[in-house]
Symmetry: C2
Subunit: 227 residues, 2 copies
Amino acid sequence: MLSPTARTTVTRGRHRAVDDRDQLVALLQDALVAHLGVVVGDHPLVLPTAFAVDPDGPDEGGSLYLHGSVAAGWLQRALERDVCVTVTELDGLVTARSAFHHSMNYRSAVVIGRARRVEDVAERARALDLVVDHMVPGRAATLRPSTRRELAATAVLALPLAEASMKVRAGAPVDDPEDVAAGVWGGHVPLRRVAGAPVPDADADQRVPEDVRLRAVDLGWAAPRAG
Amino acid sequence: MLSPTARTTVTRGRHRAVDDRDQLVALLQDALVAHLGVVVGDHPLVLPTAFAVDPDGPDEGGSLYLHGSVAAGWLQRALERDVCVTVTELDGLVTARSAFHHSMNYRSAVVIGRARRVEDVAERARALDLVVDHMVPGRAATLRPSTRRELAATAVLALPLAEASMKVRAGAPVDDPEDVAAGVWGGHVPLRRVAGAPVPDADADQRVPEDVRLRAVDLGWAAPRAG
C-alpha cells in the first residue's frame, strides 16, 4: 500500500489515485525517463533524467536512484531541500464529445522526499548497474567496470519511495449524457512507445548483441526473422 | 534566437543547447505532455499536464498555455511564484561501450517564468481550442461551444516563452577511443511514439471522424486501406 501524505495525496481526481505499491514499481520499471523537480533559489527547475528503481533498496519503501555529473548545478540543490520525481507514461488521447472532457490516458507517479547521496562503494556500483539495466536488462554485466575517474565524476542519489502517489487514467472518455444522446462521436486513440531496429555504430560489429536485440523486441520492434 | 538567462542556460552539456526558436516551437508542437513544476511550501511538485503553444501569443516570446480545474491545489501556487514547464520527447536509447557513456537520445525544452491567469474571454476560448487542437488538429471546430459552467470550472494559465532553453541529443554514443579500439559493441536503439487504431465508444458511431483518423495516421497508425 502506498502511504500518501498531505504532499502526495491526489487532491484532484482522487478516484484515479492508486493504492498499490506493485503498480507503482511496475510503472517505474516500465518508464525510461523521470522528471526531477528541484527548488533553485526562488523557482522550481524540472529536468528529464534517466533513473532506476530498487523496490528492496535501503530507503524507506524502496529506493529510486538518480545519477548525474558531480559538476551539475542542480545536484547540490537536490540535496539541500526536498525534491520531486515524477514519472509519466502516455497511453492515449481521449477524444471526448466536448472540449471539456478531452483528456489523456496515462500512468503517472509522483515521489517526494529528501534525496540521499550514495557514498557506499557497493551501493553506488549497484545503483549505476541498475540504471544501465533499466535501459537494457542484463547489459551492465557485459560492460567493463567503471574506472575510478568515471566513478569520481558521477554522483548517485537515492530517493525513498515512501512518500509516493500514482494516478492512472485508461479507456473511454467520460462524457455528459446530453452529448452522448445527441449522437456526438467519442472515443480514444491508444499510444505506445516502440523501438526501431537497433543501429550498430559504423565502427562496431554489425551484429547486434542479444541483450540489445531482445530489449528492442520487448519495446515493440518487429525484428525480421533470422534468415 | 532563444534568450537564455542564468536560470535556463544549460550549464551541463552546453554543446547540446539549441539557440533556435523554431526548433523550440517544433518540439512544443510535437510533444503531447508537459511536466509543470511549482513550488508548494518548501518542496517542488511536478505534475504532468496537457498544454498548447501559440508562438504568436501575447506573452513575450509567445505563449505556452496550460489549463486545469479552478479547484486544483497547484493552481494558486503556480500564480504566486515562478513555475517551470519541461517538455521532453524520448528518441532513443544510447547503448554505449561503457556504463559511463550510456545515455538517451531526446529533445527537451525548459521554460521558466511567471504564469499569467488568462481572464480575457476570447483569449481563454482560443487557448482551450489550442489545447484540444494540440491533441487532434482541427477537432475544436467540430465540437459544441463550452458551456458557461465548464468555462467557470476551468482555469487557463499562460507562460511566456521568453525564458527558455533546449537540449537535443541524437545519434550514436560518444565513446572512449580505448573502448572502440577494444572492439566493444556500441550503438543505439531508436524509439518513437505510435498510435494504434482509434477506438470508438461502444455507444458512438463506429466510423471514426476524419480528424481523429488523420491524427492517428500522423502518429504512426498503419491504417488499413479503405475496402
